[in-house]
Point group: C2
Chain length 510, copies 2
Amino acid sequence: MAIWLLLLFLHLFSSSAVTTAKNIRHGFPSSIVQPEQRILGSKTGHELYEEKFFTQILDHFNYNPQSYETFQQRYLINDNYWGGGADKNAPIFVYTGNEGDIEWFAQNTGFMFETAPIFKALLLFIEHRYYGKSMPFGGSKERAYANSSTLGYLSATQALADYATLILDLKKNLTAIDSPVVVFGGSYGGMLAAWFRLKYPHVAVGALASSAPILNFDNITSPFSFNNIITHDFRSESENCYKVIKRSWQEIDDTAAKPGGLEILRKSFRICKNYISGEALKGWLGTAYTYTAMTDYPTPTNFLAPLPAYPVKQMCKAIDDPKTGNNTFEKLYGAANVYYNYTGDATCFDLADDSDPHGLGGWTWQACTEMILLTDGNTEDSIFPPNNYSYNDRFVFCKDNYNIEPRPTWIPTQFGAHNIYRVLKRFGSNIIFFNGLRDPWSGGGVLKDISKSLVAIVAKEGAHHVDLRFSTSEDPKWLEDVRNREVRIISKWLSQYYRTLAHSSDYYNN
Amino acid sequence: MAIWLLLLFLHLFSSSAVTTAKNIRHGFPSSIVQPEQRILGSKTGHELYEEKFFTQILDHFNYNPQSYETFQQRYLINDNYWGGGADKNAPIFVYTGNEGDIEWFAQNTGFMFETAPIFKALLLFIEHRYYGKSMPFGGSKERAYANSSTLGYLSATQALADYATLILDLKKNLTAIDSPVVVFGGSYGGMLAAWFRLKYPHVAVGALASSAPILNFDNITSPFSFNNIITHDFRSESENCYKVIKRSWQEIDDTAAKPGGLEILRKSFRICKNYISGEALKGWLGTAYTYTAMTDYPTPTNFLAPLPAYPVKQMCKAIDDPKTGNNTFEKLYGAANVYYNYTGDATCFDLADDSDPHGLGGWTWQACTEMILLTDGNTEDSIFPPNNYSYNDRFVFCKDNYNIEPRPTWIPTQFGAHNIYRVLKRFGSNIIFFNGLRDPWSGGGVLKDISKSLVAIVAKEGAHHVDLRFSTSEDPKWLEDVRNREVRIISKWLSQYYRTLAHSSDYYNN
């Protein structure tokens, strides 16, 4: 039970730079789900794919001497399903890796493994630079993360260029130049997938961008949206549950301020002896609510600890119908247990644990440079204490920590976001934007069709990129429908591609 | 009569690295035409536009400390025609500056001045970084061009990002956020215009890309194409003219090798006393043929010296029907005079003059990094001596001069070029690709419609971005037709934009 999950949330309760620091560390908790061991059976990741490395250029856009340095970029490959190999122009499905170890994402993107046999597709999962084993500067994370001079090359645009370069090189080496590529991604990886189709249409024929909040920039999406959705998730289960949580923050503050109060809190929540504070405890609880809302999946899943189906409902049940007692802290403890201790194995909860098992630390840098996804606002009705969002907190933190200023308008300048429905009405094609409305990130997603081939699939009951997960026998019909529709759309892209390919020989020697 | 024009051409006659060096200096002789003084009347450039500066970021794609440095980027603005100002959402026409002083391009893009009143458009000409007055590193060309560390930030991708950043900022400052932007460019500027629409569809609603050889990369266009077209231009005027020129190279070599031969050549061609060599003379002649083919316009134009209408025809006339004598050198001298001395003012020709009046020197760097437009091949039938093109020459030169290796596949990796008809069949919209088939660069252009809104306009009789020039009363009908068609298409883009804008209010709060 790593405390890094907790860090996201501290900002709700303070606007100090230090707290913001913790907040934006791992600020984009995407794809935070473990592989479905049940589906994978006894297979380990290494049996699902082969690990390879590609010599990647450090800087695609400049030509100073340092730009020519290279690093080893990791990718995972599975050719078990690749029908006929290169000869038949069978497709290549590529996961555009996001902010963490690529194995973690591969193991949590069962949809690609399950659809590969249908399309006889080659599977490729490319690790994002500066994450996992894909470290510039000699492969050393210590050196790569040393300071802003070395971290400077960590940006979305460089990552997209990495993907284009690697894919084209690999296709050449596999003599699969005419194999169509479809890109997939969830969360930040979904943003990358959508942007990749928009910027590299000559490399990918289409993109499935799942839970990609590409509109969560530059005030296009309200900074209150994220927590409004969490509020709605809980409130939709039970008004009492919402009220108990909403009232609890003050009660925790009051207790923490009393003599002996921290000991009361420690005992109530079974916090380990090494560290406790009221702020840390609130962060710990807030993280639980937030991540539970994000992963409010309809079937049992493995996260960092196992979660039941519909975990928000289970949390509210623990509050509304407490087993262990009837005061607020006991109720909250029951709710927290759903998230932190569903198996009942935990002996105490360590609020000082800052382990980062999936290697998400680089996100702090990204959140200080271009990924200015503001989600901190809380209205009066919020399940969290009301507060305005603050770009200034972010600014101060980034200045303090990296001596760097964020560029909050750069992502929309480069990738577009304002008026997306108008701008892309007659430009671009072949992107699926999936969003589940239980997911707090869905507020920054594309929720309406832009055109006939830039389509939005919205699942009222869905959570964070639930469509990309391995299927289970208990999946509800709406989820099966979503995945079937995605398969049909991808199938259409590929048919269209092959038809065009068959009739394009006359164009070759332009 | 600057010798820089000559430098393009030396490569035809040698494959040594030194010669290649000279060859690729100013390797992309685009927009090499002077303003039509007749049309501009007594107006100087400064009356056509106001000069302004924008504080631009050095590196858009990385976040190292140096990336945050800024420089003053020049742009020219003309709001004489801007109907109703920002309130009416009147359009903004932007020239995406290429490899030289922006005033030179502005003064040679009469089409924008002439169409602005029709559309009540604001005119904007943005200077490309590292050219003219837009020098990073304190505005000092000496510092900016000092070495590969400082030159490193000179790339097409950075330039496009500059344009997006500047345009969006300017629109905000003019409270003209909903004014549609159309981009225009010729030659390399045309490549930038096309790529800008493809990469920044949220900034520009359409692009007129004139004589943009975006397919002249990675062997998509044959390296023999460029000189084949020059050959065809001359041969189509007169088979004798072609043969005289084709045979002359050997004769020059033979003469130069004889005792006293260089003096014969000097006298025959009125070369100044400071410098002569057989290679330099051939380069000087080759430059004349090449640039005359590129600017084989149907009306008299001002280049570095005035040119008559249909100058290739005039050159061949000088060869076929010599006034000054009947030997080969006298014929060639007559032809060279059409290009170098149409007014008859020259007393001698200085082969050592390496002045660069339009500041095109940065192209050498671009040609050593990403702009690997190979045009050096000559078939047996070429008007120039047969030779294979050589990427290796380029490589050696760049290694020697900058200790840098070109990245010949990067432009097609980033912008796409292979199978463009297939790739963009269902992606992208609103680009006009104009090409004149007399123009040797047309071989690398888009010569067929890609889709209904990615259209090719091809003028059999046209030369290098002739459509962008100021109109004259002697323009042939085909040229009027081309410009009228361009205006109609742009008009359609704008109407469509305004219709969508009027009906898109429901989309605003996505």
